[in-house]
């Protein structure tokens, strides 16, 4: 059955013809309406649909598939393409009125409409044929679209999001409107960490500690001071630890410099900490090399773990009943700050940061990275220490390194040279070799067998040199294997480690095996640990961890360890955790079979806005212990008179104070007379922003220093329709131990409006052009069906408004007046210029030349 339908939004050239149709008949049957279609994942798009009197919707399938990025090509009177992949082609045959897809052929004769060559299909036909379920809500003029397959449109957005993260890793510049680099200061305050702890034992002495840390910017670098003071001890200024750190990724020769405690000798024994200087030319920004490695580690059971690389969220997972978690981490050049964030099942949050201890370092191709460290060992001899290392990127995947270490107290061999090679032959394989002269030989192979199965082989051999050593000679190799598994509905992860150390006359071997899985709400972690020395009897023990979430958020975990050799339990433990009104409580019972002791522990933790506090007690049959603790931090901004208190450490971190303001004179500065602007929201990458209604200043805390953060603003968050952000995206490098002030200019924009008439009636679909003083087209807009047009968003300045000359030529119309000259004035709420009307009339046909 055919219907005569009419298009509102067809091309202008055809719009001139529609008066010849009969719109009344059409409007009585079907309405063409623009509706919003919502898709899973928070996405939406708009589509023109025809709505029948019974509220059935008909969609332009060609346009719909184009929006959803489903391959769809017009061939004569057919539409052909595929769903998901080329193996699933479809054909919509409009002549035979059939859809062929997935070995089905469906009659669509009752669900098809056609007008002016545009084909419309009823929503139910799309569901029957392709599994595209479109549920229309006529009250809100919206529809929800669900698909049985992943829509290419969603897939593309997902990949785009993922790639955005990867591009950050590769150090590729993110396109932003404004970049704010590091600012250096001679002196600036500051951040402060504090901590108090005390403990008491019945019939024993009590103890207390005070921990104070101060973070500043001093001599253009970050300077941190820290001291732990015990009131029972005498105050000694020597107990104050300090560290000065300077970073400039744009400097050619020195990019990082440190003064204070530096990493000490690696190949010789040192009698204490090394205080000295360390410099290198490795950038703190990240660039991804090919390849990846796997981190398998443990935390507390059932915690959620997030993995960040330079503050970019890469992945997250949940630890199992024994706290085991696994991440696949991309290898990056140079130094990497890998951060784990841990979220407890009761809402606890804690951050552990660590520098990756990957045994290999890769340097970008044809680049040389050096590092130089020198200092004095805090031993009785005040031994001197120095180390130099050079890394060269031969190719993108091959880095060679050489260097030497010097320690004056190592009389036999003060100089120890070393050489390293790191190579990635394939993205799934990483090789590393290291030779330390007369000390050690090391080899490492990392191999990703599949997407998630990981194999690692490590070999270490101590070489018999003349070096004064404390570690006896040995040869060690370790094999690690980990893989997830899926057996029917049973999913899990298993890991096995074998470590063998060969000493002078025997070997010590360890085998560790872990299986982690879950059955509905029950998490299980099962493991075995075997060790044997020489030909002696192997010692075998097994452990089982269980976790179960009860009603009301109460988490019950248990752990037990069993000694197979002696056929008895080593220990048993039961823990209960729950949360009552922001207080995290836990109670545990432990039974150590070996020492025949029972321990009962109770603890309570409470997080205040400015501190973490906690009390705990334990009783083991002979002693009763109590402990109390509190810790927090402060960050100051003397310029703005702001003191921020927090419960996390603030030293070495930075913050942002964003000042949005109405920049009337557009000089980018907050001048007197210019007012502050209160935003409703904004987005800061990997951080949370707090908008103060009191002073409109946006505070962003806990940011990593020397890291670029992307801040995104949206005009929709401004509470005046005539306001616009001058720059919508900012990239700000965080300065250490301070709040960085960033002014966010907001400008007010003007509006113009008017009518387009044709024969005293409003004329729709007429293209209006707005040109600036240099006659560049700033923007184009269309008149609505009644002839009204408007445009909001013009910065203060002079403009020319005209009707598109090309369109006038095609339609053979002329406009009166030809143009309107307007001036948008500077105004707090935006200038409005009304009544910029145009009247169209047919041009007189040219008289043929006689």
């Amino acid at each position: 059955m055919f219907y005569n339908v009419f298009l509102f939004f067809c091309a202008i050239t055809t719009s001139a013809q529609y008066k010849e149709e009969n719109p009344i008949a059409y409007f009585n049957t079907y309405n063409e309406v623009l509706i919003t279609v919502y898709v899973d994942g928070g996405y939406n798009f708009e589509a023109n649909v025809l709505i029948s009197p019974s509220n059935q919707i008909y969609l332009n399938v060609e346009n719909l598939f184009k929006t959803l990025k489903i391959k769809c090509v017009k061939e004569v009177n057919n539409l052909v393409g595929f769903i998901e992949n080329e193996k699933k082609p479809f054909t919509i045959n409009f002549d035979k009125k059939r859809i062929t897809f997935d070995s089905k052929s469906i009659d669509i004769s009752k669900g098809i409409l056609e007008e002016l060559g545009v084909k419309y299909l009823e929503a139910s036909v799309l569901f029957e044929a392709f599994g595209l379920n479109i549920i229309f809500n006529p009250r809100s003029l919206t529809a929800k679209l669900e698909a049985r397959f992943e829509l290419p449109f969603i897939k593309e957005l997902r990949y785009k999001k993922m790639r955005k993260n990867i591009s950050k890793l590769q150090g590729k510049p993110t396109i932003v409107d404004r970049i704010i680099p590091r600012s250096y200061h001679l002196f600036k305050l500051g951040t402060l960490d504090w901590g108090l702890s005390s403990s008491q034992s019945i019939n024993k002495t009590s103890d207390a500690n005070i921990n104070i840390g101060l973070g500043t910017e001093l001599l253009f670098g970050q300077a941190n001071f820290n001291m732990i003071y015990n009131p029972n001890d005498k105050f000694d200024i020597k107990n104050i630890n300090y560290r000065w750190r300077w970073v400039n990724n744009n400097h050619k020769i020195i990019k990082q410099a440190d003064i204070g405690p530096v990493s000490g000798p690696k190949f010789s024994p040192a009698g204490g900490e090394v205080i000295g200087v360390s410099i290198n030319n490795a950038s703190t920004a990240l660039r991804e090399a090919s390849g990846s490695y796997t981190i398998t580690d443990t935390t507390e059971p059932n915690w959620t773990v997030e993995l960040y690389i330079n503050d970019v969220l890469i992945d997250y997972t949940q630890a199992d009943a024994a706290g085991l978690y696994v991440f696949k981490v991309p290898i990056v050049y140079g130094y990497t700050v890998i951060k784990f964030k841990f979220y407890g099942p009761l809402g606890e949050e804690r951050t552990k940061e660590r520098i990756t201890n990957t045994p290999y370092t890769f340097t970008p191709e044809k680049k040389i990275n050096y590092s130089l460290t020198t200092g004095i060992v805090q031993d009785s001899l005040n031994s001197r220490f120095a180390k130099i290392g050079l890394n060269y990127g031969v190719t993108r995947n091959l880095t060679i390194a050489a260097g030497a270490e010097y320690l004056s107290s190592n009389l036999n061999e003060p100089f120890i040279p070393f050489a390293k090679v790191a190579y990635i032959p394939y993205s799934s394989l990483v090789l590393n070799f290291e030779y330390i002269h007369q000390t050690e030989l090391k080899g490492l192979l990392n191999f990703n067998l599949t997407e998630s199965a990981f194999f690692e082989f490590k070999y270490t051999k101590k070489i018999d040199g003349n070096i004064d050593r404390v570690v006896p000679l040995f040869e060690n190799f370790e094999v690690n294997f980990s893989t997830p598994f899926h057996i029917k509905s049973f999913n899990g992860f298993t890991r096995a480690t074998f470590n063998s150390t060969k000493y002078t006359s025997f070997s010590y071997n360890q085998f560790n095996w872990t299986l982690s899985s879950y059955i509905q709400k029950l998490k299980i972690n099962l493991g075995s640990f075997i060790n044997w020395a020489g030909a002696n009897t192997p010692q075998i023990s097994s452990n089982l961890g269980l976790g179960y979430r009860l009603k009301g958020g109460v988490l019950l975990t248990s752990a037990t360890s069993y000694n197979v050799n002696e056929n008895k339990f080593n220990n048993l433990e039961i823990n209960l955790q729950w949360r009552i009104s922001k207080i995290n409580l836990s109670a545990s019972f432990q039974r150590s079979v070996q020492s025949k002791t029972n321990t009962v522990s109770l603890s309570a933790n409470y997080n205040l806005p400015f501190a973490r506090t906690g009390i705990s007690s334990s009783y083991n049959g002979s002693s009763l212990n109590f402990s109390e603790r509190a810790q927090g931090s402060m960050a100051f901004s003397l310029d703005d008179g702001i003191v921020h208190t927090g419960k996390n450490s603030a030293i070495g971190k930075g913050g942002l104070l964003l000042h949005p303001f109405l920049d009337l004179n557009e000089n980018g500065k907050l001048d007197s007379g210019e007012k502050r602007v209160l935003l409703s929201s904004l987005r800061v990458q990997a951080a949370e922003a707090v908008i103060s209604k009191k002073d409109s200043i946006i505070r962003v805390f806990d940011l990593n220093a020397y890291v670029n953060y992307i801040i995104e603003f949206s005009d929709a968050t401004l509470n005046n329709i005539g306001w616009r952000f001058k720059h919508k995206t900012y990239k700000v490098l965080i300065d250490p131990n301070q709040y960085k002030r960033v002014f966010i200019p907001v400008i007010s924009v003007g509006e113009i409006n008017g009518m387009v008439y044709l024969s005293s009636k409003g004329k729709g679909r007429i293209n209006l052009q707005i040109l600036d003083e240099k006659e560049n087209i700033v923007v184009e807009t269309l008149s609505e069906f009644d002839g009204y047009y408007s445009y909001l968003g013009l910065k203060p300045g002079k403009y020319t408004v005209r009707i598109d000359p090309e369109q006038l030529k095609i339609l053979n119309y002329k406009a009166l007046p030809k143009v309107h000259q307007v001036t948008i004035k500077v105004s707090e709420y935006g200038d409005i210029i009304d009544d910029l009307d145009f009247t169209l009339s047919k041009k007189a046909p040219k008289k043929p030349k006689e």
Binding site: Q539, S603, S616
Partner: protein
Amino acid sequence: MRILNKYDIIMKLSFLIMLFYVAIISAQPVLPQRTITIYPSQGIDFGLFYDQNGSGGSISLDWQGNRTVTGSIHTLPSFPGRPALFEIKLCQGRAITISYPPETILKETNGDEIIMKIGPTQKGSNGAVFATENNCNFITILRVGGTLIIPPNTNTGVFTGEFEISFDQQ
């Protein structure tokens, strides 16, 4: 900066063990060589563990390599630790008495200290007597465990120290 109650308390114990050579001189009859050789092959390592709420406790690593904890100390299975190992070589099968001080102090580079209780060993506690094989080439491996006493609110760190064990040939 070290943070109180930081999540992981990683403590690895390296060691330096004294070699004890005891030669007892006697008259007739002439006995075979009585040299005892003891070599410290492997240091004790308590592996990875953490203090859950900062109230302290203890962690024991027995000579078999099994770890048990008390208080708010929890072990992490990713690195299970290992007992200390001694190679003992004695040509003539004679009894050996083990003796060691009850405890030793482990230090962190910033000056923090924790106490490690030594033992028991595979052959028993302080004062235990055991016999080695009557074969000069036979190696007796002695495993030694220990217990760390973790005070409340101990800072995160790598604590190292050394302990002595005396082997007296009867």
